[in-house]
Amino acid sequence: MTTLLDVKNVSKTFVVGKGFMGSRKAKLQALHDISFSVGEGESFGIVGESGCGKSTAGRSILRLVEPDAGQVFYQGEDLLTANRKRMRALRREIQIIFQDPYASLNPRLTIGRTLAEPMLLHGVATRRDVEEKIQSVLAEVGLPPQAMQKYPHEFSGGQRQRIGIARALALDPRLIIADEPVSALDVSIQAQVLQLMEKLQRTRRLSFVFISHDLGVVRHFCRQVAVMYLGRIVEKGSVNDVFEEPLHPYTQALRAASPVPDPRAKITVAKIEGDAASAMSPPSGCHFHPRCPKAMDICRREYPAWREVGHRGVACHLYPAKAGDAHAA
């Protein structure tokens, strides 16, 4: 499989005004040394809880958030150094869909105009064939042709997400950043939208960066997954490995806490106590150590280096680090 997207050591710190009149500034490290890559036609999942940085990771690929450091290679070209004109052209190939399509659709535009605008702007369609192209993309996402004349409020949540997907497809992208695309939908509708995205992935050979807090959805849709905690990737590997036999104690806790529709399933790992710390003042050493049932002395002092365990990577002192790797994190 050829690599389509290669994210290397991306970091991002936000400066947050704090206190009255913004007198004190605080730093929030949203991303710390994030690396992952996505193959052509592959779905890569990013999971984690609120505030872990997963959405910022997705947005920094498109430079909707400008990273402070690192590289984002798309087909070998670094997006972070591309100029505005080039970036505009590349945004045609990399599209994003959001959790709440209603918030990202203009309520005053018909669906037809919403879809026509980017097509005409990017020269994907001409005035003459734009309608035909819109009809074909609507059909592809399972919406009737009459949808063109309607406004966003006339659709249900599931249909709106289909419109969000249609808009992303309008420009013939190769990579889609999907930020919690099914989280606002009821399960029966969620399954419809997931099935649509799977179909599109097959027929168009699309790649996805799929961001979600729902481990079940990620396990279903993705092949590879990264688990994030307070701005860092703590574990990475195939979904089966990571969810069947999680290595990092945080992944273990997340997996154990994810509800399964089986009344006999017992939570096997001691549930973790406390809240996640704030990204404004992450704990010393491993950020997870205050909640970790297996925390050791070294965990309080030193952030664990990234280490390979089989086909997986994990940032945890419980696993042996290779001698040469100690400084690599």
Binding site: E49, S50, S156, G157, G158, D186, V187, S188, I189, Q190, A191, Q192, L194, Q195, H213, D214, L215, G216, V217, R219, H220, F221, V239, N240, F243, A253, L254, R255, A256, A257, S258, P259, V260, P261, D262, P263, R264, A265, I267, K271, I272, E273, G274, D275, A276
Partner: protein
């Protein structure tokens, strides 16, 4: 867990044949139809269903919190420990809410007063319902904060809601709800806005408090995984009706109504290797659309002629009186008997 099923205890709450309607464009439309259920002490009944199925309206009906201008409970009865709530005046209801029964919601921030310390908010309920002095109420409020496991509770007593995290705010809400030892707690999606590692903590806390106080709990959720972990008994709602009801293990072992079965098959699971998803085609009919038969009929693969014409009654499944379903095809409905009904 399920020994409450056969216990002789009288139900704390018993809802019989209620219909709750709303006025839309001048006509009344039912959001909850002919709904009956009951809960016993120390029992958790989960009501599960998707958006618009009527699960929250059910809880608001029990609390008598349906807006009077746009809504009404047009028939049926709701009894809390034998007392007919539909016959109570608003003043009487105010004395009951927060005392004999209380409710917690999805978003604690919208139910907490942002300009009042959390200690005062909990104490307020005790002073109102129990007539405690400020000092007594504060002492009890602090005990409650400790009961719901707020770390270093004494120092947080004078904090405001915005100084708490989402999980801690929900703990505060639970403390307020339990202040007067209610016999019934209605919990409407109380963990939906929380991260999963926090959700398990809140679910464990609710289960522990239920066990300790012996209260009955009605837990409303859309999440079948949460149902599996907290419920003793489950009622599945669709289109304003309970379409299946069973003890939790039986519901997951033998989902009988085609909707319950489809719901389980459409849920991606973290404990299973990538498996085929089976979405439910179509969507829920809006409440303004009237249908003479089963509300699920137009999406149902097992539909027969009768499903379109007539609403099926809740009938036992496999001869088990504790497991019932509203389905002409799958429930035990002998031909003669169903014609007679």
């Amino acid at each position: 867990m399920s020994d409450t099923l056969n216990s002789p205890l009288q139900p704390v709450l018993s809802v019989e044949n209620i219909t709750t309607e709303f006025r839309i464009n001048g006509a009344w439309h039912p959001a909850v139809r002919d709904l009956s259920f009951s809960v016993k002490p120390n029992e958790t009944l989960a009501i599960v269903g998707e958006s618009g199925c009527g699960k929250s309206i059910t809880a608001l009906s029990v609390m008598r919190l349906i807006s009077k201008t746009q809504g009404r409970i047009s028939s049926g009865s709701i009894r809390l420990q034998g007392r007919d709530l539909l016959a109570c005046s608003e003043r009487e209801m105010e004395a009951i809410r927060g005392d004999a029964m209380s409710m917690i919601f999805q978003e604690p921030m919208t139910s907490l007063n942002p300009v009042m310390t959390i200690g005062d908010q909990i104490a307020e309920s005790l002073r109102y319902h129990r007539g405690l002095s400020r000092r007594q109420a504060n002492a009890r409020a602090l005990e409650l904060l400790e009961l719901v496991k707020i770390p270093s509770a004494p120092s947080r007593f004078k904090d405001y809601p915005h100084q708490f995290s989402g999980g801690m705010r929900q703990r505060v809400m639970i403390a307020m709800a339990l202040a007067c030892d209610p016999q019934l707690l209605l919990a409407d999606e109380p963990t939906t806005a929380l991260d999963v590692t926090i959700q398990v903590q809140i679910l464990a806390l609710l289960a522990e408090l239920k066990e300790r106080t012996g209260m009955a709990m009605v837990f409303i959720t859309h999440n079948l995984g949460v149902v599996a972990s907290i419920a003793d008994r489950v009622a599945v709602m669709y289109g304003g009706r309970i379409i299946e009801e069973a003890p939790v293990e039986q519901l997951f072992d033998r989902p009988t109504h085609p909707y319950t079965e489809a719901l389980l098959r459409s849920m991606p699971r973290v404990d299973r290797d990538r498996s085929e998803l089976h979405p439910i085609p179509g969507q829920v009919p809006p409440i303004t659309v009237r249908t003479p038969g089963c509300r699920y009929a137009d999406r149902c693969p097992l539909r027969i002629e009768r499903c379109i014409r007539e609403v099926p009654p809740l009938a036992p499944v496999g001869g088990n009186p504790h497991h019932t379903a509203r389905c002409w095809v799958r429930a035990d409905l002998p031909v003669q008997e169903s014609i007679a009904s």
